[in-house]
């Protein structure tokens, strides 16, 4: 070939032919594949209903059993190993450990199914820092750059455009500004009271006047009426509790904002979300973990306990109950029913063949849609080292706040995948008009009991004390006892349950 590069005649004809083919066939957007991901509700309902579970034949003697392989259970196991105690098993009902931190992987990226980040732990969060030192995320007081959220961290879709940042971009009018300023002042006061801590073992009281009223009422009492601020507070309540500000206590609503020291860095995040931590822990602890082992009975046996699954009876001296606490009343002899409810969620992982268009700045890690019923989406592969992602995975989050948790769970059982697909696409379409042409696949996860809902009175309820103070041989380690579906809380509860169990076993 001499001279300039040109389009050859054959290329031209091929091009025309392909245009003709596309022109003939492409009347609608390409079909979107997908379905429901396994949410474990089958064995969950089986345990609850107590039917269909066979008496196991085998039995095993083991000093300590951990029930539940989410962050609390894995953290308990991590602590035991770290302290040289290896005589335990961890029983996980699902086929994979991880709980709310479980994750998936496809040919584009790893992605989370629920929890997807950890705020940089403050200097007092000893256990969390120790874990991250173990995982080489924290070295000599410095956080590993590749584990911190990459720029740009967050963007907000409002007035038809994406703009940089979130909280700082929200106030619009002088009255918004005034209410936001006042709100942050009140948050500062709350923070300096020392009662709002992460983990809550660092100083949370067991009663607070704020526990008696709802967050919405608290805002009313302080004359905070800016619609933008109210939307923002609702957003944060949906984010951490899966409920609106009228449905959670002011203690919980304020906790979201006042519990963490002001740290510029972070948060910590990985493509698979907190599944990264789960996978690192499983690499070390995998030998102790038995999956597909739903525990359907825990009963007293002498001074110890007997834990029953479909495959074996485990006779042990102590049990760390790290499964959701509401399951205990169906399984553990004498355990009361929990007084609080759980917020249902739906999450979805969307596999995109290309980046959709969107007015304003480029995609961030966290992408918030103002006035949307969803929490927006997180770009899973934002935390990859690739500089030019073409395909992508987005994790979309929605807390079902528009009806009672029971009604919402009923809806979850019956609503079809294609209805969810439409809900998701309609939500994203506002910001990305061509989203339907970009999405290849949508996998939907239904989480019936995603988060505890700390309604007014939660903190002071006597049943909560029961689980909080259980002194063995069974220890409750799940974060729902604190009303906080947070990594640090789960990790701390798991570690502290393991500490107490160790004292019992050695004493």
């Amino acid at each position: 070939m001499s001279g300039h590069p040109t389009l050859g005649r054959r290329d031209f004809l091929a091009g025309m032919a392909s245009i003709a083919i596309v022109g003939c066939s492409r009347k609608t957007d390409p079909p979107i594949e997908g379905g429901f991901a396994d949410d474990g509700s089958d064995w969950g309902h089986a345990i609850r209903d107590g039917g269909g579970l066979v008496e196991p034949s085998g039995s095993e003697r083991v000093p300590l059993v951990i029930v539940g392989g989410g962050i609390a259970g894995l953290s308990a196991a991590w602590w035991l190993e770290r302290n040289g105690f290896t005589d335990f098993v961890l029983l996980e009902a699902a086929d994979e450990a991880g709980g709310n931190a479980r994750s998936g992987q496809n040919d584009v990226s790893a992605y989370p199914w629920a929890s997807h980040y950890v705020p940089v732990p403050g200097p007092d969060a000893r256990h969390a820092r120790a874990l991250f030192e173990d995982l080489d995320v924290l070295r000599a007081g410095t956080w590993n750059e590749t584990s911190l959220v990459y720029s740009p961290a967050v963007r907000l879709f409002r007035w038809g455009r994406w703009s940089d940042g979130f909280e700082e971009a929200l106030p619009e009018s002088p009255s918004d500004r005034r209410d936001f300023d006042r709100f942050y002042e009140l948050v500062e006061e709350a923070r300096s009271s020392g009662q709002f801590t992460i983990p809550s073992s660092l100083g949370a009281p067991s009663a607070s006047p704020l526990d008696a009223i709802s967050m919405a009422r608290w805002l009313d009492d302080h004359d905070l009426s800016s619609p933008t601020l109210r939307w923002y507070v609702d957003y944060t309540c949906r984010d951490d509790y899966g409920a609106l500000s009228g449905d959670v206590s002011a203690w919980a609503g304020v906790h979201y904002h006042a519990s963490r020291p002001d740290i510029e860095e972070g948060p910590l995040a990985w493509p698979e979300g907190n599944g990264w931590i789960v996978n690192r822990l499983l690499e070390r602890l995998g030998g102790h973990v038995r999956t597909g082992e739903p525990v359907w009975a825990v009963s007293e046996r002498g001074s110890g306990l007997r834990v029953t699954t479909p495959s074996a009876r485990y006779d042990c001296d102590a049990v760390i109950w790290a499964a959701p606490t509401f399951m205990a009343s169906h399984v553990v002899d004498g355990a009361p029913a929990v007084p609080w409810s759980y917020s249902p969620w739906v999450t979805a992982n969307l596999t995109l063949a290309r980046q959709p268009v969107g007015a304003g700045i480029d995609a961030a890690w966290d992408n918030v849609l103002f006035d949307s019923p969803s929490l927006g989406y997180v770009v899973a592969d934002h935390q990859s080292l690739r500089t030019y992602p073409t395909r992508s995975v987005w994790t979309w989050y929605m807390a079902l706040v528009d009806r009672s948790p029971a009604d919402a769970r009923e809806m979850l059982l019956h609503r079809s995948w294609s209805d969810w697909k439409e809900t998701i696409l309609v939500d994203l379409e506002r910001a990305h008009p061509d989203i339907r042409a970009c999405v290849e696949r949508i996998d939907v996860m239904r989480l019936g009991h995603a988060m505890p809902r700390p309604t007014p009175g939660f903190l002071s309820s006597p049943e909560r004390r029961y689980f909080q103070d259980a002194s063995g041989p069974l220890y409750y380690a799940h974060s729902d006892v604190s009303g906080l579906a947070l990594f640090e809380e789960a990790q701390d509860r798991g570690v502290r349950a393991a500490e107490r169990a160790l004292v019992r076993l050695s004493g």
Partner: protein, 497 residues
């Protein structure tokens, strides 16, 4: 009706269509989304022609003189339309406003032309013949223009000169009309003088078009576009003008064949020539093969080129014209080409290198910015032999001074000693590079043969910065806080305005 009249109609029609196509094509080039650009430009234009036709009723007296003046106005506005749009894009924020205003004005003027012409002719010929002939040649002219535009005009003249050429044709028609309709025309001398003035202005524009469009900087393709392709990663555009060939990626000038040797010699030799023991050289980015060409001048060196876009390395190794630019270096058996994302590839490989050339596009967005972070340089450090060095293209220390020193700071923060330097590259301006290493640096006494710019004796001078480029306080660029992208954006947007 005589042939001269037919030609007049034909040229007028062709001119009208060309201005419309120029506006549509320019808007597509500059804004992307050609469907939207073309359909809104055509819609506005046709509607404006309607306004023009309606306005023609208000032209009562001196129709012929008005027709000639109209031609002259169309010639000027249409002829310079492309230049005006280039300038509007480069120097204002109101490109769309200028675009549609211009389209509206030209549309109205062109819409006036045919009704006026018909009225001039209606007394000379039968009305049915006037309508039939004028419209026939109007449509033939439109066909001619629409075929010439993509096949001949844009490839050989470019958009700026095409518009100017048709402005000149419009002017010639005006001049010709003063002869054709001499019986009905008053003030002929004045009009003819006007025609000459307009033609001279357009002629001057034709000569100066290159300079004007150059002024609008590297984001625009003022020259003849000889090749474009869109890959999953970027838009590749190659232009030529006389003996100069330019490569644009996503609208950013990558090199001009007239002076790229300055850039690439400076990027490679001050560092590589200082490590006589260097064997393994890694080139990151730089799929055009120019940095590889320079590295291969060192006879003992083997090169690994990691370029994301396979289309780039394919073009620059297979296409004769382009391969000639890099001395066919990408076909050398001393070169290994890997098409991969540099960051990911480095994280996955165990290989060690003696010299690394980071020739990435400027850090103008968060995606490319990742390749200028402490995380990236630390990783690079793990693949560098003990006496190895890195050479980093680091944007302009003059135009983006804080950004340049932020790159230096990022390398220091990543544990390197740094030796920043700069050269002058006419098509870029003052350009900066940073050498980084952990084992000290001494400027080389000897350079390989065949260089066109660098002399060993002058290398120490490159490390001297004049007062307007000396170090300023800047923060290091981190994955989780890409301050460099913000510095870069702030400083270059100041230059663009």
């Amino acid at each position: 009706m005589n042939a001269a009249l037919f030609v007049t109609v034909l040229v007028i029609a062709a001119c009208g269509l060309v201005y419309e196509l120029v506006a549509g094509a320019l808007a597509s080039y500059l804004l992307g989304d050609s469907i939207t650009q073309f359909s809104t430009v055509i819609g506005t234009y046709l509607f404006a022609m309607g306004i023009g036709s309606w306005l023609s009723r208000f032209v009562v007296r001196g129709v012929t003189a008005r027709f000639v003046s109209l031609q002259l106005i169309v010639a000027i506005v249409g002829g310079f339309s492309s230049t005006i749009l280039f300038l509007a894009f480069a120097y204002t924020d109101a490109f769309r406003l200028v675009l549609y205003t211009l389209v509206l004005i030209i549309g109205i003027l062109v819409g006036l032309e045919i009704p006026l012409l018909m009225r001039i002719l209606k007394d000379r010929y039968e009305f049915k013949d006037v309508v039939a002939n004028v419209l026939t040649f109007d449509y033939i002219g439109a066909l001619g223009a629409s075929l010439l535009f993509p096949l001949v005009l844009v490839p050989y003249l470019g958009l700026a000169r095409t518009a100017l050429l048709f402005g000149i044709l419009n002017g010639v028609v005006a001049l010709w009309s003063t002869h054709l309709f001499r019986e009905t025309l008053g003030a002929r001398r004045v009009l003819q003088a006007g025609c000459v003035a307009v033609l001279m202005a357009l002629g001057a524009g034709m000569v100066g078009a290159e300079r004007i469009t150059r002024m609008t900087e590297s984001t625009l393709y003022a020259d003849q576009v000889v090749f474009t392709t869109t890959t999953p990663y970027q838009r590749i555009v190659l232009t030529t003008w006389r003996d100069d060939m330019r490569l644009f990626l996503n609208g950013h000038l990558q090199f001009s064949s007239r002076d790229e040797y300055r850039y690439h010699e400076a990027l490679v030799h001050p560092g590589l020539a200082s490590i006589p023991t260097a064997r393994k050289v890694l080139v990151l980015g730089g799929g055009d093969g120019m940095a590889v060409r320079e590295a291969l001048r060192h006879p003992d060196v083997e090169v690994t080129l990691v370029e994301l876009d396979p289309e780039m390395t394919r073009l620059f190794s297979e296409n004769e014209t382009l391969a000639a630019l890099n001395d066919e270096s990408l076909r050398s058996d001393r070169v290994r080409i890997i098409n991969a994302d540099a960051f990911q590839w480095l994280a996955d490989t165990d290989e060690m290198f003696d010299f690394v050339i980071a020739d990435f596009p400027d850090p103008s967005n968060y995606a490319v910015g990742k390749l200028y972070t402490t995380a990236f340089y630390r990783l690079l450090g793990q693949h560098l032999s003990r006496d190895g060095m890195i050479s980093v293209q680091s944007t302009s220390p003059l135009f983006a001074r804080t950004a340049f020193w932020s790159i230096v700071e990022t390398l220091r923060e990543s544990g390197f000693e740094t030796w920043p330097y700069h050269v002058y590259v006419p098509s870029f301006g003052e350009w900066g590079f940073v050498l980084a290493g952990k084992g000290g640096y001494a400027t080389p006494n000897q350079l390989p043969d065949g260089l066109r710019f660098l002399q060993a004796s002058q290398i120490p001078q490159l490390f001297e910065f004049p007062l307007d480029m000396t170090a300023v306080a800047a923060l290091p660029n981190r994955l989780d806080d890409q301050i460099l992208v913000r510095y870069y954006e702030r400083e270059w947007s100041r230059i663009a305005k």
